[in-house]
């Protein structure tokens, strides 16, 4: 499956362009999934229908989803609560409800929810040709792309530490006998170690997905939007992610036909510092301009 992510400042036209591309791909016969990972979904407004969590098959080859991210977070925390109750002998060691309420609003929970939803959808729809993603506005989108990289480093450290714990436990159990202790000594029976390995597997999948994806920033022909796009490109370059080009949307008066736009009287053909071309929202040309990704 090929992945295309549209990102940019709020209101630049990410949803419109991602819908258009997904529609064109489907018309070309590619099995395409269009998914909005923005909290403020508007794919439903674009296609003039209620889409929601379960999704809608719009065309023979086009499925659209608008997952309810808040509901997913609540469900996830509810499941965590059940798991804690199942696994703990003394739940009262901390105030479970308090802790989970705190976690609900914790920084990072939205990014994780969105990434996990992406993981689940990609796994479930593995036989599709294209996944087109309408991302939330810049700040959150960049944090989403950064999270698997940060998580990889944390998991590496935690797995190393956990292995050290298991080695020490084993040494003690070898002297006194394993039956005297209620802790796990082997990697396969230690639930914490197993959980870390599961997380590592999911994270590696997401990293591969993001590193193999085409990320397309969308911008408007105004200075503020261009400045933000430069910051997006800088950040994405740090993570060495693929950005084939930038789309400049809403260019008036056929100005795009010149192959450039004017920002404060200066003609711009490319984001020079980042060696990224600019392309335009020329819908007639979109097949040749944008689709050969």
């Amino acid at each position: 499956m090929k992945y295309i992510f549209f990102m940019g400042k709020g209101g630049v036209g990410k949803s419109t362009l991602s819908s258009l591309i997904a529609y064109k791909l489907a018309k070309r016969g590619e099995k395409t999934v269009l998914i909005s990972l923005d909290f403020a979904h508007n794919l439903g407004d674009i296609f003039n229908m209620k889409i929601g969590n379960k999704g809608v098959r719009l065309e023979e080859h086009l499925d659209i989803f608008e997952p309810d991210i808040d509901r997913w977070v609540e469900e996830y925390l509810r499941n965590t609560r059940v798991l804690i109750k199942e696994n703990y002998k003394y739940v009262s060691v901390f105030n479970l409800d308090n802790m989970l309420n705190l976690m609900k609003n914790s920084p990072g929970i939205e990014e994780y929810a969105i990434l996990h939803l992406l993981y689940e959808k990609t796994k479930a729809l593995a036989d599709m040709d294209y996944l087109v993603v309408d991302m939330p506005p810049t700040a959150l989108a960049l944090r989403i792309f950064a999270l698997p990289f940060i998580t990889r480093e944390w998991l590496k450290t935690l797995l190393k530490l956990r292995k050290e714990i298991l080695v020490k436990r084993k040494r003690i159990a070898n002297v006194h006998g394993k039956e005297k202790f209620d802790f796990a000594v082997d990697e396969h029976e230690d639930k914490v170690y197993r959980n870390l390995k599961e997380q590592e597997e999911e994270n590696a999948f997401l990293l591969k997905l993001i590193q193999g994806a085409n990320i397309i920033p969308v911008t408007l022909p105004v200075q503020l939007s261009f400045k933000e796009t430069e910051r997006i490109l800088k950040k994405l370059s740090e993570f060495k992610l693929n950005v084939p080009f930038v789309i400049v949307n809403r260019v008036k008066n056929d100005e795009w036909k010149k192959g450039c736009v004017c920002i404060e009287d200066k003609e711009v053909k490319t984001f020079d510092d980042f060696k990224r071309e600019i392309k335009f929202q020329d819908f007639d040309n979109i097949d040749s301009e944008i689709l050969p990704l």
Binding site: V93, I150, T151, W154, L161, I172, V192, L196
Partner: protein, 90 residues
């Protein structure tokens, strides 16, 4: 009868030797487990933390560490006695 006494004495001796052999490892283990708990559950006590996703995914399996961390917090004024007992200082 005497054999029983000797056997019990030898068992006691073995137990003492075993405990001596693992005292330091057990202390190190407790410290490493506590460190693991502080890293993963640190947010609850105000430490820098890994992504919340890692914490939430692990917490259902970390009762031992949660108890250890809570106890350590309670005993935190008594660190010297921990070290003293390992060094066999009365």
């Amino acid at each position: 009868m005497n054999f029983d006494k000797i056997r019990r004495f030898l068992q006691l001796l073995e137990e003492v030797q075993k405990n001596k052999a693992t005292d330091i490892i057990e202390f190190e283990l407790k410290e490493t487990e506590n460190l693991f708990a502080l890293i993963t559950l640190g947010e609850m006590v105000g430490y820098a933390n890994p992504p919340v996703s890692i914490t939430l995914s692990l917490i259902p399996y970390m009762e031992r560490e949660v108890i250890l961390m809570t106890n350590r917090a309670v005993d935190s004024n008594d660190k010297l006695s921990d070290i003293a007992s390992i060094m066999e200082i009365e």
